[in-house]
């Protein structure tokens, strides 16, 4: 009888301990994970509804969460989201005056959703190029073609922003949104 009375209490205590352990074990991982599906809007150059270029590292972390990898030097910095062998997003910073500001964001998650184009990274590259021109009014500055790597670049009219897209070897396709110098 005595044992039977104590069992439910012990189980509760054990469950509590497991819950606490799991909470500690899971929270750092979820904090470093990339956003589930990134929403890009090339017209206004936002990611997840927030401006992504010209931002400080702190602002980018506030928008995208804690990166899986952070590399920082005196003049440059990089925040990487996702897995090392397949980054979902990489934000590049360069020093402007005394402040590091984001000037380029690389997106490599095939689930990326662009406001006008939909799943942009699931489009064949030439199709992506033609839709960037026809639907977003961009101008081709470097037609897509494959040499050592496959790459194309378009420019956003009226903005100091370009969009590069392509793929390297067998890696998944990528799209890079970057500021003009």
């Amino acid at each position: 009888m005595r044992i039977q009375r104590l069992r439910p209490e012990l189980i509760d205590v054990r469950l509590g301990v497991v819950a606490v352990v799991l909470a500690f074990a899971v929270s750092p991982a979820s904090a470093a994970a990339p956003p589930a599906v990134l929403q890009l809007d090339l017209k206004v150059q936002t990611l997840g509804g927030r401006a992504i270029l010209g931002q400080t590292p702190r602002a980018v972390v506030a928008a995208l969460g804690r990166p899986a990898l952070r590399t920082q030097g005196l003049r440059r910095a990089r925040l990487s989201y996702g897995r090392e062998d397949h980054w979902a997003a990489i934000v590049l910073f360069r020093r402007e005056g005394s402040v590091l500001r984001s000037w380029s964001v690389v997106l490599g998650d095939r689930r990326l959703r662009e406001a006008t184009l939909g799943f942009a990274l699931q489009l064949p590259p030439l199709r992506l190029q033609s839709r960037l021109v026809s639907e977003l009014g961009m101008r081709i500055v470097k037609p897509y073609r494959c040499r050592a790597i496959c790459r194309g670049d378009v420019v956003v009219p009226g903005a100091r922003v370009r969009v590069g897209f392509g793929r390297v070897a067998t890696e998944p396709p990528y799209l890079v949104l970057y500021e003009a110098r």
Binding site: R75, R78, K142, A169, V176, Y178, R181
Partner: protein, 167 residues
């Protein structure tokens, strides 16, 4: 018969010096300021430490301040450059560890390793290529530097090297 022998001997004399010269002359890294397309590997005939510049200029007389390559903007790309002798040091670094040598070259060891190993390059391959371009810089003149760069927008980094002249 005598005429035939004379013809054979003459032919042999004509051919011998050329073939002997071809076999004996070791290739060297020639001055070339035109073909500067960056490469990820050195030519097959290049042997590090053996193949030399055909006519090398001396390395610029400067006081080494840092082993780090100098960051600069190259069009729409990020780029890094250094003098030939520092490139040789980096090559040695890459021979020892491809995982860490990129810290001095592009200021980012993990990205360098990821980019270079992802292209199937070993530390030896990368080192050999850097040494080749260091010799190209030496062959071209004292104002030439070894550089490496990203694609436009800072991505991707292709682990390719070349040389350019400081203006």
């Amino acid at each position: 018969m005598k005429i035939a022998r004379l013809v054979i001997v003459s032919l042999a004399l004509c051919v011998w010096p050329a073939s002997a010269h071809g076999a004996a002359a070791a290739p060297c890294v020639a001055k070339d300021t035109q073909n500067l397309t960056p490469t990820t590997t050195a030519p097959s005939w290049y042997v590090p430490g053996v193949t030399r510049p055909c006519a090398a200029s001396s390395d610029p007389i400067v006081t080494p301040q840092t082993a780090y390559w100098t960051y600069f903007k190259y069009g729409w790309s990020d780029a890094w450059r250094t003098v030939p002798y520092n490139a040789d040091y980096s090559a040695r670094d890459c021979e020892v560890s491809l995982r860490t040598c990129g810290q001095y070259i592009i200021g980012d060891a993990s990205w360098f390793w990821y980019a270079c190993s992802g292209r199937g390059l070993s530390g030896y391959d990368v080192a050999r290529n850097i040494r080749y371009w260091a010799d190209r810089a030496r062959a071209n003149g004292s104002n030439w530097r070894v550089y490496t760069k990203t694609e436009a927008g800072g991505y991707p980094y292709g682990c390719a090297f070349s040389v350019y002249a400081l203006s």
